[in-house]
Symmetry: C2
Subunit: 230 residues, 2 copies
């Protein structure tokens, strides 16, 4: 057992029976084209999605399917996994090819996220679902406790629409009022008009969708959060 | 226990300890806005993805991550789940609202696929992962045995490119040679040119991508499968 492998075992609180599984989980394809972590990553990704789905299902007994799905996404997306891998200093233990080593591959966030998934897949094969579940519980404990209110994960347009619907008010109308810039660098200005109270809000962005979301955010700020709230 | 519930238990070979879980799994939201199967569907979907990922991982010990992912997709996609639900006559046991009943909701494929996922989620909650695994093994047995060669699941453009690359031949060039029809109903004709042997193939379709895939399929037929194969 290498020093790196022992360090990983200590940080995740799991000791492998079959050390070769751990080695494979830590091996990027740049270091070994035949024995790398991508198959384990496939398995670990599916496992993690399931374990987090189960946790979210139980934690949020009244949230609907859409809310559960959004909550899970915040936990299993690449940025979260890369953060957790960084907290574990997983990068120090990765087995990378010379090129990746030189270009800082042990800090690359996609490599870190993939390695964490592979590690979970390896734990599952080595110790079964209970072992994997225990490690996931521990790695995600803080984030599971700090899960946001599901409604906050909805995008502003959806939140504005639901807020108006809940009050029986007419839905907003979005209109592009200006498109400027060259074709490859366009800039959109969009107006979001609400009938009651009759107000309009403006949003801008590099795409129509972004501009609409920003306009909806303005509307939410004023209608829901601001002094004009009714 | 209703007759319908007993029928479902017999068809899947699992008897629920908590019959209310089975009832919820069979209940579409049109029948009961408060107690329907969508949360169970969320859980069952994640569970099924994981169990099938695990099976595919073990069945195909040398396939790469992309192949595993494509193989899994063929098993867990909506059409497959609806087929299995139909084989189980699950539609006869669904609890639907009056509107859905009148419009044939018990035969609607998305409703059937969702109910099957919900059923798996319910089995997991009722009997744990071993029970769910056993039912999945049984429901998917025939399809797991008949898994296609992973390479056949790749799209024609990818297969053509890989076939040429494996032989050190130049890659094909695609060109749109004609666009006809009104803006909302365009029709594309695309040419796929291969340098060695120097040949060109034509594909058509409602989008550029579809036309390219069809042209690549023509090329594959001739280059790989036809008498000109070299």
């Amino acid at each position: 057992m290498s020093k790196a492998a022992g360090r990983v075992e200590a940080s995740i609180g799991y000791r492998f029976k079959d050390a070769s599984l751990l080695t494979t989980a830590l091996t990027h394809r740049s270091a070994n084209q035949r024995q790398h972590n991508e198959r384990l990553e496939f398995l670990g990704d599916a496992l993690l999605n399931f374990l987090i789905a189960e946790r979210v299902y139980h934690e949020r007994a009244t949230d609907d399917e859409g809310d559960l799905s959004r909550l899970r996404s915040t936990l299993v997306r690449g940025v979260t996994l890369a953060d957790i891998a960084t907290e574990l200093s997983l990068g120090d233990s990765l087995i990378l090819g010379a090129g990746e080593l030189r270009s800082g591959g042990h800090r690359r966030r996609s490599i870190l996220a993939d390695a964490l998934e592979a590690l979970l897949g390896a734990i599952y094969l080595d110790g079964g679902i209970e072992a994997a579940e225990k490690v996931v519980e521990q790695l995600f404990a803080r984030r599971l406790l700090a899960l946001p209110d599901a409604s906050l994960l909805k995008d502003p347009k959806t939140r504005l629409q639901e807020w108006l619907q809940a009050r029986g008010l007419p839905l907003p109308v979005y209109e592009v009022v200006e498109v400027s810039g060259e074709e490859h660098a366009q800039h959109f200005r969009v107006e979001c008009r609400v009938q009651r109270p009759e107000r309009s809000f403006t949003g801008e962005g590099p795409g129509r969708r972004q501009a609409e979301q920003q306009a909806a955010m303005q509307a939410l700020d004023v209608l829901v959060g601001g002094p004009d709230a009714s």
